[in-house]
Amino acid sequence: MPHWLDLMLQSLGPLLAAGLRFTVPLTLIAFALGLALGLGTALVRLFAPRPLAALAWLYVWIFRGTPLLVQLFVIFYGLPSAGILIDAFPAAVIGFTLNVGAYTSEIVRAAIASIPKGQWEAAYATGMTPFQALRRTILPQAARVAVPSLANSFIALVKDTSLAAAITVPELFQAAQRIVAVTYEPLILYIEVALIYLVLSTLLSWLQTLLERRLGRYGGYLEARA
């Protein structure tokens, strides 16, 4: 067996273990929380009174306008100076959640805004409250509009979690760094870790296609057919 293959096979165990223990949970938790945060932020920006909406705008502005790595460093290395000490994994969850929340809020906001005003009116005309209209009529349609962009964010997040290595989370990429530090084989290990990310994001793209097909089953939008 060639040396590179031998090394890759030997490294696969520790790499997958790091992926399962840190990369996958970090991605799933941060995306679930980030999506909820993004939805809340989008609704606040669209429907809340001005001062609250301005606050939501400020949040999105800051977290979309600054590098994710810097945000992680502020949370993990910076906040202790203000007396806030957060362990590496929770710090990563917080950082990624805030970042995902800011990006998805824009996606969700645009998706909600894209649903024709007539759909709100049709819901109101049947006697729905604004919340019922949102939940039953607007959001299901907005979801379909948002899913491709949200799925892209999700795939980007899987890859971005490698940044957690910089704040000491021993995730997939850091596991590779550790192996490189003792084997001095950066090319082989970093290509291996790249392949693992590639497999992960390919799987997710495939799920995205399934989800889009399911959400798209009701056909095109209904506009007047004069």
């Binding site: 290395y77 202790p80 000490l85 362990d87 590496a88 290595a165 910089a166 000491t168 021993p170 850091q174 760094q177 550790r178 490189v180 530090a181 003792v182």
Partner: protein
């Protein structure tokens, strides 16, 4: 002494290869000692990085300062010539000696066999050793053996990470000494292993930070002033100069200024 940068590793390898090569058949006939040329020019040309605090760097006003720089000034003074600092990247510093761009390089150059095969060193002017750093209030870690099962914050690719690992520590990966110390201070790691000079520098910058040296390794790594081979007069003059500045207290003053401690042993 620096041992991590990729450039240094490369330089080391190059030095080793060159050292292993058979003696050049074009060896020059007996030549004058470099010291004569230096005296004639009334200038000692010193190669240094200028980007490696606290050894050789530019202060807020742009002045080239640092431990190595001040040692260089004092040595030149002892030789009775003016120092001329020529700044260059590490990767080209030692090669610059061969190219006669500098007379000496003063830049934390570690004294190694590989380098000694091709160059001469002065007597060591600074020594560093691996130290184990913990929070000041920790009394449960007093030796490297106590690292077993504890978390050590380390730059993953450094030799110190290997040292911590060999002592049984669980590594917490960081991007450098400042981050590692931060993790130790906040209790997110139990300790970090690094060189004594980095610790002294940190301690000098932040005297109130509650960290201490819990243990140190016996073996020290020494750095010397490196020069072209076969210039016995120059080597003798520099060694004499170093001795003189140690004797008159100026070495101690410089060490105190940058490290708050004697770094010659």
């Amino acid at each position: 002494m620096r041992i991590f940068s990729a450039g240094r590793v490369a330089a080391l390898v190059v030095a080793a290869l060159l050292g292993a090569a058979p003696a050049s058949p074009f060896a020059a006939p007996a030549k004058a000692d470099d010291l004569d040329a230096i005296r004639a020019a009334k200038t000692l040309r010193i190669g240094t990085e200028g980007t490696y605090a606290p050894f050789t760097f530019h202060d807020a006003s742009g002045q080239l300062v640092g431990f190595d720089v001040e040692i260089g000034r004092k040595v030149a003074e002892q030789l009775g010539v003016a120092p001329q600092f020529l700044e260059g990247k590490w990767d080209g510093l030692i090669a610059g000696l061969d190219g006669k761009r500098y007379d000496v390089v003063i830049n934390q150059v570690g004294i190694t066999k590989e380098r000694q095969a091709k160059f001469d060193f002065s007597e060591p002017y600074i020594r560093a050793r691996a130290v184990l750093i913990t929070r000041a209030d920790r009394s449960d870690i007093t030796s490297f053996a106590d690292l077993k099962g504890r978390k050590a914050a380390q730059s993953l690719s450094s030799n110190f990470a290997r040292l911590a690992e060999q002592s049984g520590a669980e590594l917490v990966g960081t991007d450098g000494f400042d981050q590692s110390v931060q993790l130790v201070l906040t209790g997110r790691a139990d300790a970090t292993v690094n060189d004594s000079l980095s610790f002294l520098d940190f301690h000098k910058q932040k005297p109130s930070a509650p960290v201490k040296i819990a243990a140190e390794q016996a073996d020290a790594d020494a750095s010397g002033i490196i020069m072209r081979k076969n210039n016995p007069a120059l080597k003798a003059a520099i060694d004499k100069a170093l001795e003189a500045i140690k004797a008159d207290g100026s070495y101690a003053a410089i060490a105190q200024k940058y490290f708050g401690a004697d770094v010659s042993k």
